[in-house]
C-alpha cells in the first residue's frame, strides 16, 4: 500500500517509540486501558466500585478483586481519568490520524470494512466480518488480561527489557496465531 514505510525505516521508527517511552517515563503498554475504560463506565452507575481508602497503597480500593489488585492501582486510574497511561492510549489514536493525514497508507472503502484477504476467503458481506471480529476482540482482551499484557506491553516492551515473560508471551501467542491464521485463511 502506498505511504507504508519499508521494514527497515518502519522498524527504526517503531523501535524509537519504545525506546523513548522507557527512557522518559516507562515501557509502553495498552491492554490495561481496556479495563480502565470499562471501569470508568461502570463507575458511572455504581457508588461503590471505586472508593477512596487511606489504608490502601494508592489511596483507592475496590470491592472487585481485579480493580483492587496492586494496592488499588486500577481503581485509582478509574477515579482519575487524566493519568499517563490512559492519555497515552488516546494520544496513539491522534498520532495515527496525523500519520494518515501526512501521507501514510490509506485503506479504500472496501478495506475499511474487511481486509482483502478476508473478502477473498469469506465474501463481501461485512456483517459476518463484524460479528467474527467482535468475538475475536473478546478473546484477545480476555487473553491479554490473563497474560498481564499484550503485543505492546509483553512482546515489544518485554523482550526489549529481556524480560522472561515477554519471551513466554511471544511463544504462546505465535504458537497459537500462526496455525490459526493458516487454518482460517489457508496458505494460498
Amino acid at each position: 500500500m502506498t505511504g507504508q514505510l519499508k521494514w527497515f525505516a518502519g522498524g527504526i521508527l517503531l523501535g524509537a517509540a519504545f525506546l523513548f517511552a522507557v527512557a522518559l517515563v516507562k515501557p509502553i503498554g495498552v491492554s490495561t486501558q481496556f479495563v480502565i475504560a470499562d471501569g470508568m463506565v461502570w463507575n458511572l452507575f455504581s457508588d461503590t466500585l471505586v472508593q477512596e481508602d487511606p489504608g490502601s497503597k494508592t489511596g483507592y480500593s475496590s470491592p472487585n478483586a481485579y480493580l483492587d489488585k496492586s494496592g488499588g492501582k486500577y481503581a485509582k486510574n478509574i477515579a482519575n481519568p487524566v493519568n499517563y497511561s490512559f492519555i497515552f492510549v488516546l494520544a496513539m489514536v491522534a498520532g495515527a490520524f496525523i500519520s494518515s493525514r501526512l501521507g501514510g497508507p490509506k485503506p479504500d472503502r472496501q478495506d475499511r470494512k474487511a481486509p482483502q484477504v478476508w473478502r477473498q476467503r469469506f465474501g463481501e458481506d461485512p456483517l459476518f466480518r463484524y460479528v467474527t471480529v467482535f468475538f475475536a476482540g473478546v478473546l484477545v482482551l480476555f487473553g491479554a488480561r490473563l497474560a498481564g499484557g499484550c503485543t505492546s506491553g509483553h512482546m515489544m516492551s518485554g523482550m526489549m527489557q529481556t524480560s522472561l515473560s515477554g519471551y513466554l508471551f511471544a511463544l504462546g501467542a505465535f504458537a497459537a496465531a500462526v496455525p490459526t491464521a493458516i487454518l482460517v485463511y489457508k496458505r494460498n
Binding site: 517511552a21 485503506p107 481486509p115 476482540g137 497474560a147 509483553h154 504462546g172 491464521a181 493458516i182
Partner: protein, 184 residues
C-alpha cells in the same frame, strides 16, 4: 508534565504503528500465515534495536534503570498469550492497532474494540475466582529478566554482563530481521 509526555509519546507511537502498516489487518494476517513478513521484519528490528540501545544507554547512565518495568512470569502468560494469538490471527488486530485503526476509518476495528471492552470486563469479573488457581503459578521466580542491569528485578543469567547479553540478543534480532525473506 507527565501528561504532556503521555501525549507526545502516544502520538509518536500511534504515528509509527500507522506508518509501518500495523493498523492494516491484511498485513497482520499475511504475516501470521507466513506470506508477507514485512511486519515481522520491522518488529524484529524494532525489538533488537531498542533493546541494544536501552542497555547501552543504561550502562552510560543516560537512561535510568528505575524506569524498567518487568512483568511477572506465570502459567497464565502462556495461556493468555495463546488465547490472544487465536483472536489476533482471526481479526488481524491486537489491542493497540485496533485503536489506531480507528484513525484509518476502519469500521471492523470498532467491532473489535467493542468485543475487547467486553473481554476485559469478563476478565475483571472472573479474576477473583481464578486468582488462586494454577494459572498464576510463577515461572522461574516471577518478575525476572535474562540480563543484569536492574536494581529491582532479578537476572536469570547473572554470570553474563547484562549489556553484552542484551546487545547480543539485540544484534541477533536485527540479523533475523535483515535475513528473513519479505515475501514467501
Amino acid at each position: 508534565m507527565n501528561i504532556v509526555l503521555a501525549i507526545i509519546l502516544g502520538v509518536f507511537f500511534g504515528f509509527a504503528l500507522q506508518r509501518v502498516g500495523a493498523n492494516n489487518p491484511q498485513n497482520i494476517i499475511n504475516m501470521l500465515r507466513l506470506k508477507d513478513l514485512h511486519l515481522m521484519k520491522a518488529i524484529f528490528f524494532a525489538i533488537g534495536m531498542s533493546s541494544s540501545l536501552l542497555f547501552l544507554l543504561m550502562t552510560f547512565g543516560v537512561i535510568d534503570s528505575g524506569h524498567l518495568s518487568v512483568k511477572s512470569s506465570y502459567v497464565g502468560v502462556i495461556v493468555g498469550g495463546a488465547l490472544l494469538g487465536i483472536g489476533f490471527a482471526i481479526a488481524g488486530y491486537c489491542p493497540g492497532t485496533s485503536l489506531t485503526a480507528i484513525a484509518d476509518g476502519r469500521k471492523d476495528a470498532l467491532f473489535f474494540i467493542g468485543g475487547g471492552l467486553l473481554g476485559a470486563l469478563l476478565y475483571t469479573l472472573v479474576y477473583g475466582s481464578i486468582k488462586e488457581t494454577w494459572l498464576f503459578d510463577q515461572i522461574a521466580g516471577g518478575k525476572v529478566m535474562l540480563a543484569t542491569g536492574s536494581e529491582k528485578f532479578e537476572p536469570l543469567l547473572p554470570m553474563i554482563p547484562g549489556t553484552l547479553l542484551a546487545a547480543s540478543i539485540g544484534v541477533v534480532f536485527m540479523l533475523i530481521a535483515w535475513k528473513l525473506p519479505e515475501k514467501v
